[in-house]
């Protein structure tokens, strides 16, 4: 006798519920009608319109200003051309600022990653009181860049702060910190020297002090995700502790490094507060950055077209440098998922 499965008919008198009325196999959902269907739009509308107009719309507006005639206090939106951009390409201050912000980003992100990694490794091996240490290193993150700038401006002031200490310890050639106008080494390229302005190192120290905790937190989370079994297996295979770190753990931390590069990188490319408060543009523009130049061009010198051009270049810079990093992050995630 063949067994047949017949669908059960509803029992006489049984009232169908909404659940039973819904088609089998498809997602059963309360079908929105009228106002309810528009609900997603209503929820999103304020924020999305705001972002659409106030970000994308305004980016376009600024782009237009950068090619306009608006070079004085009086607003003039007539088309001029790309003069401002070509001028920037031969502008000593702008080129210095570009060099500075790139050098700063590399040094800053590098310092944070290194210090953060070291601290994370130390913390990982030191379970006692971990939350205390962690909070201690994270606290500077909560501080304003203004506060950091004021404090470190005093600390690294060549005639006060740290130098007084160094002097007492008998150090002879006291560093000039952010007052220095040296650029090391001096590879000339066009108008500017493509190298490291010593003054920037002072700013890197201040910024790194503040943000290393972030890298530490990210790395620590990554380290704590490395199972003990993996380390144990490596040890049994004869690996030394150093080997374990180099060959096993560091590659596993690669996604963390990419995250740190993305987050800290785009913060540092846009740096304004710290430079403005701590050093200003510096003699010979050794500590100038595009964000500061944009502010002074626009709000001090009323050169709106120039300020707009600088901010457009800054936008392109951030997107161009961050896009590969974000792409690398997506690739790593996909690889990890497989």
């Amino acid at each position: 006798m063949s067994v047949e499965v017949t669908p059960q008919l509803p029992v006489e008198g049984h009232k169908e519920s909404a659940l039973e009325r819904a088609p089998v196999g498809r997602k059963r959902r309360h079908t929105p009608k009228g106002v309810e269907r528009a609900m997603p739009l209503l929820l999103l509308l304020p924020s999305v319109i705001a972002i659409g107009v106030f970000v994308y719309g305004f980016i376009a507006w600024t782009g237009w200003v950068s090619v306009s005639n608006w070079t004085t206090f009086v607003q003039d939106m007539s088309y001029r051309g790309f003069t401002e951009y070509t001028r920037l390409l031969s502008d000593f201050r702008f080129l210095s600022g570009l060099r500075n912000v790139i050098v700063f980003t590399i040094l800053f992100v590098g310092m944070c990653a290194l210090v953060g990694l070291l601290l994370a490794i130390l913390l990982d091996r030191q379970p006692w009181g971990q939350p205390i240490w962690r909070n201690l290193f994270l606290f500077p993150l909560a501080i304003s860049f203004v506060v950091t700038g004021v404090v470190w401006q005093w600390l690294l002031n060549p005639s006060a702060g740290v130098n007084i200490l160094l002097d007492q310890l008998g150090v002879e050639n006291l560093p000039m910190w952010y007052v220095s106008t040296e650029i090391i080494p001096g590879w000339q390229w066009g108008q500017i020297e493509v190298a490291i302005p010593v003054a920037l190192v002072a700013v890197v120290l201040a910024a790194g002090w503040q943000m290393s905790g972030f890298a530490m937190a990210i790395y620590l989370a990554g380290l704590q995700g490395v199972s003990e079994d993996l380390r144990e297996a490596a040890r049994v295979d004869g690996a030394t502790e150093l080997d374990i770190y180099r060959r096993v753990i560091l590659p596993l931390l690669r996604p963390m490094t990419i995250t740190i590069v993305i987050v800290l990188g785009h913060i540092s490319l846009k740096t304004f507060d710290l430079i403005f408060v701590m050093t200003g543009s510096g003699t010979g523009y050794v500590t100038d950055v595009p964000a500061v130049y944009m502010y002074e061009a626009t709000f001090r010198a009323n050169q709106f077209a120039r300020g707009a051009a600088i901010s457009v270049v800054l936008l392109i810079l951030v997107v161009a440098l961050m896009a590969p990093a974000v792409w690398a992050r997506n690739k790593t995630e996909e690889g990890a998922r497989e």
Binding site: R29, H30, M39, P40, L43, L44, P46, S47, I51, V55, Y56, F58, I59, W61, L119, L123, Q126, P127, W133, N135, L138, L141, A142, I143, S144, F145, V146, V147, V150, V151, W154, G161, V162, A217, A221, L223, E228, L230, E232, V236, D237, E241, P251, P255, M256, T259, V263, L269, K270, F272, D273, V277, Y295, T298, F299, F304, G307, I310, L314, L315
Partner: protein
């Protein structure tokens, strides 16, 4: 990195109980050889050193703020305060409108945080739970704005608020800050962790869309709201650029702006008063940080590691 697990001894998790708490790593076999002891105390010493370096600038700030103003520049920096010129802290309020700076900062920050909590939860919910065409693209566009430098949009925003008549008011700082791409991103993450079945159960019970959001999902996403609130509070409490551009009268200044003003005013003469102002400004930050550090870290992790 293939490690041959077949030849290893039984994994340590077989012999030690798994104590995987979120805060501390699983207990490790500790072979108490001299090398291990040295490494253990060595890393402790290094940590102490690192902690000292981290704290040093703040300790200097505190101890210098307690110095006689005329000497603050010339004498070598000290970690521990030697003089206790508490008058410096009073002087901060006399020399500048510090009390107003504080009040303005509180008003602006709280208003921004409340507004952001509202917009972020609404938009985050929509992106997480509601389906509509173009959702992914729209969210991507929203997310992309995080990278946009504020310099690119500041001038048109400034012109706009001037035309509305908000220039040099706190409103100019508050309202434009209400939409938040990062906050939306965070809330969407939190909403995604809440199962969809709850919505179905609620709608079968007769709840409308708004009620599903307000009474079912939103309460479950409270931790997310806390993270958004804390991060937004921290960021906007310390914000400098927008107040610098939008505000011109000292009585409207926010705290970071006021501090810079104070520094310009007193900086060359007496850094100790400026540092007193700085220490005062750090107190609310410290308090919030201590109370909410769990949320801060969670927010960092979610922002950094996922998405």
């Amino acid at each position: 990195m293939a490690v041959d697990a077949l030849t290893s001894r039984p994994a340590s998790s077989d012999v030690t109980p798994d104590a995987g708490l979120p805060d501390s790593p699983p207990p490790r076999e500790r072979r108490r050889g001299p090398r291990q002891l040295l490494s253990h105390y060595g890393s402790l010493a290094l940590l102490l050193f690192a902690a000292a370096v981290m704290l040093a600038p703040l300790l200097w700030a505190v101890s210098t703020s307690l110095r006689v103003p005329a000497e603050s520049f010339t004498l070598p920096p000290q970690w521990l305060p030697t003089d206790f010129v508490w008058e410096n802290y009073l002087a901060v309020f006399e020399v500048s409108q510090f009390a107003r700076y504080l009040t303005n900062n509180i008003i602006v920050t709280v208003a921004i945080v409340l507004g952001q909590m509202a917009t972020a939860s609404l938009a985050g919910y929509a992106f997480a739970k509601l389906e509509f065409p173009g959702r992914k693209l729209l969210f991507g566009l929203v997310l992309a704005t995080i990278m946009v430098p504020i310099q690119v949009t500041i001038v048109p925003v400034f012109i706009l608020i001037t035309q509305i008549g908000w220039a040099d008011t706190l409103l100019s700082l508050i309202v434009p800050a209400w939409p938040t791409a990062f906050g939306t991103f965070l809330m969407r993450q939190y909403f995604k962790t809440v199962p969809d079945e709850l919505a179905e159960a609620a709608s079968i019970d007769g709840a409308g869309q708004w009620q599903i959001f307000y009474r079912v999902y939103l309460p479950l996403a409270k931790p997310g709201l806390a993270v958004v609130a804390i991060l937004a509070f921290n960021y906007h409490w310390n914000e400098f650029f927008r107040p610098l551009v939008f505000l011109s009268s000292p009585e409207n200044f926010t705290l970071p702006l006021g501090l810079v003003n104070l520094q310009g005013y007193m900086g060359t003469g007496s850094i100790s008063i400026v540092l007193a102002g700085i220490v005062i400004s750090l107190i609310p930050v410290l308090v919030i940080f201590i109370i909410a550090q769990r949320f801060v870290i969670e927010g960092l992790m979610r922002g950094g590691l996922k998405g």
